[in-house]
Every structure is written in C-alpha cells, then in structure tokens.
Amino acid sequence: MQIALGSLDIARWQFGITTVYHFLFVPLTISLSAMTAALQTAWVRTGKDKYLQATKFWGKLFLINIAMGVVTGIVQEFQFGMNWSAYSRFVGDIFGAPLAFEALIAFFFESTFIGLWIFGWDKLPKKIHLGCIWMVSLGTVLSAYFILAANSWMQHPVGYHYNPKTKRAELDDFLAVLTQNTALAQFFHTMSAAFLTGAAFMIGICAYHLARKKHIAVMRSSLRMALVVAVVAGALTAISGDTLGKVMFKQQPMKMAAAEALWDGQKGAPFSIFAVGDVNKGHNEVAVEVPNLLSFLATDDFGSYVGGINDVNKAEQQKFGPGDYRPNIPVAYWGFRWMIGFGVISIGVGAAGLWLTRRRFWLAPEHRTGEDEVPHLMLTRGLRINEGLSRWYWRIALLTMVFPLLANSWGWIFTETGRQPWVVYGVLRTKDAVSPGVSAGEVLTSVIVFTALYAVLAVIEVRLLVKYVKAGPPELTDDDRRSPTRIGGDREDADRPMAFSY
C-alpha cells in the first residue's frame, strides 16, 4: 500500500512536470506559426524587405521553440500507457480516438510541412512555400482541438456508457465528445490564450530592440501586429474564460468553489480577492471579497446560489460513497488567481501599448513618426511620454513576455488539480488509474530522468533564443529575395549551396 501510494504520487508529479513543460512551447508554437505566416503573407503580397526579414527572424525563433514542443510531445503520447495503464484500459475506447486523430491528421500535417518550409526556400515557388507555413499553422490548431476534446472528456465525460462486463467506459457518440460545450469552451479559451502568449513574446522582443533603437523597421511592423493580436486575443481570452467558468460551475462545482475558497454555499456569493483559510476546519480566517460578484460570474445573476466546498463535498459523498472529494484548495485558489492575474497584466500592457503607439491620424503632426523611426509613446493627441517613462514602458513590455506563460501554466495546474480526486470526473479516481505493474522505483527513475533532461534542454533553448533575439533580423541577400519558379528548385541552381542546411 505504501509503495502503491508512492508510485501514484510520483506518477502525478511526472505528469505535472512533463505536461506543464510541454505546454510552455505549445501556445508559442500555435501563435508564432500563424503570426510568422501572416508576416510572410505580407512579404508575398508587398515584396517589402522588412516583412521578409521579419519572417526569417520570427521564423527562426518559432523553429527553436517548435523543436522543443515536438520532442516533449512524444512523451505525452506514451506516458498514458507507461504510468497510467489502468486509466488507458478504462478509457482507451474513448480517449484513444482523439489522440489517434491528432496524430493522423494534425501531427503529420505539422511535421511534414515544417520540413518543407524550413528547407523549401530555394525549392518551392513563393506561394507554395507560403502555403506550407499556413499548413503548419493549421496543423497546430487541429492538434490543439483534438487533444482538448480528449481532455474535456476527462473534465466532463459524455457520449459513453460504463460496460460492467468489460469494466471500462465505452464510446456511444464520438460527435458528442468532439462538440460538447466543455470542449468548445476549452478550445476557445486555450486558443485565445495561445495567441496572447505569442503576441506578448513578440511585444517583449520588439520592445527590447526598439528601446535600443535597433532594427526599427522590422520591429515596428511586428510590434504593431503583436499589439493588435494581444488586445484581440486578450479580450477573447477573458470572454472565453468567463464562458468556461460558467460551464465549470455547472459541471464541476467543487473545482470552482475551491477556486474561490467558498466553503459554504450561499446566495449572492462574493468574489474573493485574497483569503487565508484553514483546510482542516473548512473556513477562511482572512477574506477580502467583492460581494455578489461570484454569483454573477457563475450564472449572470448577482443573487443566485453558489455551492460551497463543504456542501459539494457532502453531496458527492452521498453520490459516490464516503471519502474526501476536495481537491488541494490552496493550489486551486492561488492557481486560479495567478492565471487571471498574469493574464490581465499581459492584456493591460498590450492595450496600453496599442494606445501609446497608435497610428498617425490620431496624433498631432509634429509627433508622427516614419516607418524607420521608433514610435513616440503618446498619451494624448499632443502629449508625449518623456524619455524616462518610455524606457520604463519598454522594460515592462519586455518582462511581459513571461506573464502569459505563467498564466497558462497556472491555468492548467488549476484545472487539472481542481478535478482531483478524479482523473475522469465522477467516473474514475486518479488512484485507480495508475499502472499497477510499474514500481515506484521505475517511476522515480523516469521522473528524475525527464526532469534533469528537461532542465538541461531549457538552459540550452533559452540561451539559443537569447542569442538569436539579440542578433536581430538577418541582412537580406539577393538570393533571399529570389524564389524558384519550379518545384524542386530551378535547373540553373543545381550546384548552388542549399538556402538552408543543418
């Protein structure tokens, strides 16, 4: 029993570490592929050098990042079977299908077209080459959809029945799994957050160069695009977060009660700003609250009833038998706050930037700047922020790069730990999901190996990113501007060096 418990905890730690790590790269991959594709589209349409430079610059950072996303994704495909074989047996009939779809449809798309894009500069005509990066982008979106549908089924199982003969969950309605509101809301929320993440990444790097008055033309155009994406994606993240929250209040009241440290259900429940509670006694010692707001967020009605941790726990005990159905409440409570907090700061920096660097017709003539000048940060039509404060804005913008990454990580930690003790909500407990045949020693070896490897790779990756960020966009040669007219490369180029080689 001692050992079984040990391997369960270690397996959970491994899943947490490898998945949070993997998800640092995923949102960047999703958004940077699309934004690089947008910049390349601008180049194909206008022929302007700055867009090609931008494509090569962001494309390089995107590639450094996707390499990590791809390799850490392999672990995800295997670790269900390795550490969670009982889970795999129980849910495979349902959960396996979206995973197989993801591999067969999305992964092939991504991996094949990324190869074509990386090596295709001198092998493919301009527009076909552009098509390749859009295909990569489509692949990343499809991949997100299938895996989120699978995760949503764990949050809110639908379209299945339990077969007592085979002792497993069996699929009745695949379409329900793919289109249930949990899946749609999660997809909407995760996608918009992914674009906020990529936009903040871009804003930070543009700010770094603009503060130093370097690579201005490229950074100015990129900044503009990134600020717009940040504000739009940020607004959508907030809207979809609200939608997802409402869905969760219905489907997993315990998770949301824990997110708010709301111990006892009440009408007109308050939204908690800050709380210190005692989990054993089941109440808060200190609480700073906005009255009635939680009820409104949960149901659009300020006076509505919201269930508390203690009530939901009792209700679940009656439904599922004796036991503690509460997740780790401090983690859920603070995870929820970090997610929202870091997300909101990122949106704020984006919105401020969008306003401060707005286009010329909003500004007095003497404050307008040209394409290759650092934009003045303008508070009003004629009031310019002074040098010192401007420098502070660029610094904060640089820092904002990491905020959405933190928000994403906490969001997942919140939603996954908030579902505990269930791995499939209301159907399968996490403790019954672990591989019975795998020893604690084996899982421990595995978690140590992955953590050490991931730590080393993180150092290598970040240093490489910093190197390429600092180097800035490349100077273009005539070869860069020239695209082949024939698939496979032009004949007269047969003996020329490849435009890109490892």
């Binding site: 791809v70 390799v71 390795m82 495979g92 299908a97 197989a100 992964f107 090596f119 595995s446 490849m498």
Partner: protein, 334 residues
C-alpha cells in the same frame, strides 16, 4: 473479416511505415560516424534526412495513438510492461530531435561535435531497442491474468530479443547506407555503396537466423511466405547495391523491412501480445480491442487520412529529390 482484424493489419502497416522511414534515418544517424570523413560530409548525411525525419517520426506517434484507440489493452500492457526500454527510447528521440534542429544553430566546433555524438547514439540505441521490443512481443512475455506484465526488465534482454536488436540495427544501417547512396553525389556515394555491401551481408545473416528462429517458434504457412520474401528481398537489395542499382536496392531493402514486420505480425495473429505464463492470459485481437463503434470511426479516419498523408509525404520526397554533395553545403552557418 472483423474490424479488429482490419486494425491488426493497420497497426502492422503503421509500424511498417515507421520502420521503413525512420529505419533509414536511424541508419543515416549511425552512418555519421561510420561513413563521414569530415564535418562537411557529416552535414551532407544529416541533410539527406533534414526535411523528412520529423514527418517520419510521426509514424511512431500514430502507431502509438492508433494502438491506444484500437487496442487499449495492448497499448496499456506494452507501454507499462516495457517501461525502462521505452523510457530510454523516449530520451533518445527527444535528444535526437533537438540535436538535428540545434546543431547548426551555433558555429562553434564543440557545440556541433556534441550534437553529432548525440545524433549517433540516439539513432543507434533506439534502432537496437525496437528490435528487442518486437522480438519480445513475438516471443511472448510474462503477462498475468490481469493483463499486466510481471517479468523484470532483464527478462526482456534474452538471446532471441538481442538477436532481434542486432537485426534492426544492421538492417537499418544497411537501409540507411542504401538511402545515402541514392541521395548523395561524390565520394560519399561510393563509400556508402561499399559500406552497404558489408552491412547488407551482416544484416542478411542476422535476419535469416532471427526469422527462422521466429518461424520455428510460432510460424505458420503465411509467416513462412513472408520470411521467404524478406530474405529474398534482402538478397536482391544486396545484389542491386553491388550492381549499382541504387533505386532498386532501396526498394528491396524497404520490402525486406515490410516483410519482416509482416512476418512478426503473422506469427502473432490472433494474439497481439502472447503470455509466456499461460496462453489463456494472452492479449488477442478480440480481448484487447476497442468496441466496434470506435473501430468504425477509426477506420473512417484512417481510410481518409492515410492516403492523403502518403500523398503529401511522398510529395516532400519529390520536392527534395535532388542528390546533395559537399558543394551544396554553404560554409556560412545559420
């Protein structure tokens, strides 16, 4: 024919695709130490698979995902049972992917040498371990009544499995050398062919011994046919290579891999993972499979997506059809 039989065949097809494609790119990784004489030649080798290795690896992810969906019990038993070897394979695939992508990202010699060592070892080790894993599946392992693997990790490294590992190692090296001779120009092409002749003979001896052992252990008429095809194709590949017919040699080494996978799967059927403790505890296409409903959905998906994948992945090979040599490798680094 039941859908679970169809999926047994499709899983075999996915593994065949994986070993055919990643087989040569593991081979190329191994050859970076055996064949290349200098940095430029190592780069030529790596760039022969540069645009395609990632797409090749997806065949593994698809085989894994499809096994999860179509045979959840097989997926669960296999992946939890072969835990430590799989962990090693995962670590290798992670490092290998990063090595390809990051090697050229810094000009300094030490950085590049380190990643080149990584490419060699992380190609070699999985090439062996996949053979070990599949030999154990074919041979049968200690599976209990609850479908869990109860043997130790050392049970997996028996003589038969090690021979299986030697087969995949030598076969992939041969397949890779033939691929290099098909994709390069200049002296490296000649040396690749010379090396392929040696590797081909070693692979032929090892493969013949392994497949005959398999046939004696659990073969039937159909697996015998596959065995004969595998050995004949390998002989033909070695002959074609000697005759300088690189395209034919590659096609034949590919057929060898496909026939060898087919032989293993034919010797398994209707089991997917036999138990060496009690044949009643073996995982079979029926007791390990998903429901007919899930299999039907999967069949639709595979039926539509697989031809498309073959089409656009095939197109990639056509786009990058030109042979490369040291003259195509720019000195300036990215």
């Amino acid at each position: 024919m039941h859908l679970h039989d169809v999926w047994f065949v499709l899983i075999a097809v996915l593994w065949t695709g994986y070993f055919f494609l990643e087989g040569f790119d593991f081979g190329v990784g191994i050859l970076t130490k055996l064949l290349a004489r200098d940095r430029a030649e190592r780069r030529v080798l790596i760039n022969t698979i540069g645009p395609v290795w990632d797409g090749n690896e997806v065949w593994l992810l698809t085989a894994g995902g499809a096994t999860f969906a179509a045979f959840p019990e097989w997926y669960a038993t296999l992946f939890s049972g072969f835990y430590l070897p799989l962990l090693v394979i995962l670590v290798c695939l992670i490092v290998r992917g990063v090595a390809f992508e990051y090697r050229a990202k810094r000009p300094d010699e030490r950085w590049q040498r380190n990643w080149e060592h990584a490419i060699f070892w992380t190609s070699l080790v999985p090439a062996v371990l996949w053979g070990v894993a599949f030999a154990n599946i074919a041979r049968g392992v200690k599976i209990d009544a609850a479908k869990d693997y109860v043997g130790s990790v050392w049970d997996l490294f028996n003589g038969y499995a090690l021979l299986g590992g030697l087969v995949t190692l030598t076969l992939f090296t041969f397949h890779g050398a033939v691929f290099v001779s098909l994709k390069t120009v200049g002296p490296i092409r000649e040396r690749a062919r010379a090396l392929a002749s040696v590797a081909g003979v070693v692979a032929a001896v090892a493969a013949a011994a392994f497949l005959i052992w398999t046939q004696a252990h659990s073969g039937d008429t159909w697996s015998l046919v596959a065995l004969i095809v595998a050995v004949a194709a390998l002989a033909a590949a070695v002959g074609a290579n000697l005759a300088g017919r690189e395209g034919w040699a590659f096609a034949c080494s590919g057929i060898t891999i496909a026939a060898a996978v087919a032989m293993l799967f034919l010797s398994l059927f209707p089991d997917v993972m036999p138990s060496s403790l009690n044949s009643d505890w073996s995982l079979t296409v029926t007791n390990a499979s998903a429901t007919p409903y899930t299999l039907r959905i999967m069949t639709w998906c595979a039926g539509i997506a697989t031809p498309l994948v073959l089409l656009y992945q095939g197109w990639t090979y056509w786009v990058f059809r030109k042979r490369i040599g040291t003259q195509h490798i720019a000195e300036s680094l990215h």
